[in-house]
């Protein structure tokens, strides 16, 4: 992974988010305050606007810069969380001398842990973590086993979808929906949805390259 791959992934994420405007937007209207799509989109556009600045950077620096940029652009609950993810990922990569799938999986997990720390949340609280935590552990497990990229991407897409779906019948205990009690049941979490869209987009990008 280098900054070119990162820019490609960012572009893929951006188009996927734009394509899912309706679904994401309506979820945050149902049990949130309706701004999640706009927040994410603003973040995506900010990253697109610094594509040229990212290009010369190392992967580590590019990810850190993305985190900083998201931190000062998105706002809301998702801003600091996504920012923490990229900064956490960057930090993990920096600590490692080499770059391979396992290193990447570890970095992903470090990013997810940064989110958990910042948001003081766990799996099962009806947030983006219900997608991110299973994806992180599956990713690491498959990388550990030395599975080929195509197996990993296929599997992660499934886990992502399951994670998203799992939020439907949860009570929310973090974030804006936590005030709703029983009324949140039956709705997917918006942040989980946007994570699912983003992860799927990256998986598709990676598998199209590896074919």
């Amino acid at each position: 992974m280098n900054s070119a791959t990162i820019n490609h992934a960012a572009a893929a994420i951006r188009s996927a988010i734009l394509a899912h405007e309706a679904d994401i937007e309506c979820l945050d209207r149902e049990i949130g305050d309706g701004d999640h799509y706009i927040n994410i989109k603003r973040g995506c556009e900010a990253i697109a606007s610094i594509e040229a600045e990212l290009a010369p950077l190392s992967a580590t620096d590019a990810l850190n810069k993305i985190g900083m940029k998201l931190l000062s652009t998105i706002g809301g609950a998702s801003g600091p969380l996504f920012a923490s993810f990229f900064m956490g990922m960057s930090k993990s990569l920096k600590a490692s001398a080499t770059m391979n799938t396992l290193v990447l999986a570890q970095a992903f997990e470090a990013g997810v842990q940064a989110i958990m720390q910042r948001g003081k949340a766990q799996a099962g609280e009806k947030t983006m973590l219900d997608v991110l935590i299973p994806v992180a552990s599956t990713f690491k497990q498959l990388a550990d086993q030395g599975e080929p990229t195509s197996v990993i991407t296929t599997r992660l897409k499934i886990v992502t979808g399951e994670g998203l779906e799992s939020t439907r019948n949860m009570l929310a205990t973090k974030g804006r929906a936590s005030g709703l009690g029983e009324r949140a049941i039956g709705h997917l979490d918006a942040g989980a949805k946007s994570c699912q869209v983003m992860i799927e987009a990256v998986c598709d990008l990676v598998s199209s390259h590896s074919q």
Binding site: E25, R42, L71, G76, P80, L81, K174, L180, G181
Partner: protein
Amino acid sequence: MKKFLNDVEHMLTESLTGFATAHSDLVEVQFDPTFVTRKQKAQNKVAIISGGGSGHEPLHAGYVGAGMLDAACPGQVFTSPTPDQMLAAAEAVHAGQGVLFIVKNYAGDVMNFEMAAEMLPFEHATVYTSDDCAVINSTYTTGRRGVAGTVIVEKCVGSLAETGADLAACKTLGEKINQRTSSIGVALTSCTVPAAGRPTFEITDTELEMGVGIHGEPGRRRETMREADAIVADMVAAIVHDFKAKQLPAQGEILLLVNGLGATPLMELYLIYNTAARLLQEKGFSVARSLVGNYVTAIDMAGASITACLLDNDIRRHWDSPVHTPALRWDM
């Protein structure tokens, strides 16, 4: 959606520019990052900074000025501001005595202010407001939301800071007021986030949303629309119940704030006030101070919130002290 705007992208900037121009005797606005400060910066006192998503006007920028806030950081509509805003605002108004953040208790606001605090090169503390008693505070929630009671915290802490009190004292007063304040809101219509372009929720002509948040978050219950007295009675009961749950005295002087959420006429707010004041009085509270109007709004929502703050000499004195901001002004 029908709104006075040119393009959604620039709405906030244009509005803040108008705000700063209209009140150029009192405030200044900076962009990139966005924050509002007093025109005449205060010296030698704790800097009081608040902020949050836009769409709640006049909160918070309308409360920047002598006797209240030193700076406000407006986020995008209904989206908490980003840490760089708080850092730049603190840089601009820090006067050697530390910085107190007043933050409404929402995950987004909490995390963004927290990250700013972590990076802040000054002594600092944070008061979280969580006066909304519609959300039951239990182990499985991230806690109650900060709503209209925030104005009372900002006013009184602002007053105390003006006397030269230190950071710890300001934080203590803010937390005391938050503890003695309960609010509950009701919506008759949804709000419409400009960038979303359509109402956040659907609601029919025969329904109301009891316990609605100031971002159009659903509340306790969807209920049947009924006469004002019945609605207000339920709201007052929730507040009194919350006072009990907080183990506050069951009588005493209160400040009663009837707050419009954006599209509710003053005539209706005074009608609500009339019933709320009577019911609270019947329950043993005496209404010693009042505020009726649009102070913490939810864009264009038709609806209102009721806030009661149990006064003591300290709070009363700081409420009464002179204030001169775009949206709250007396004795100056």
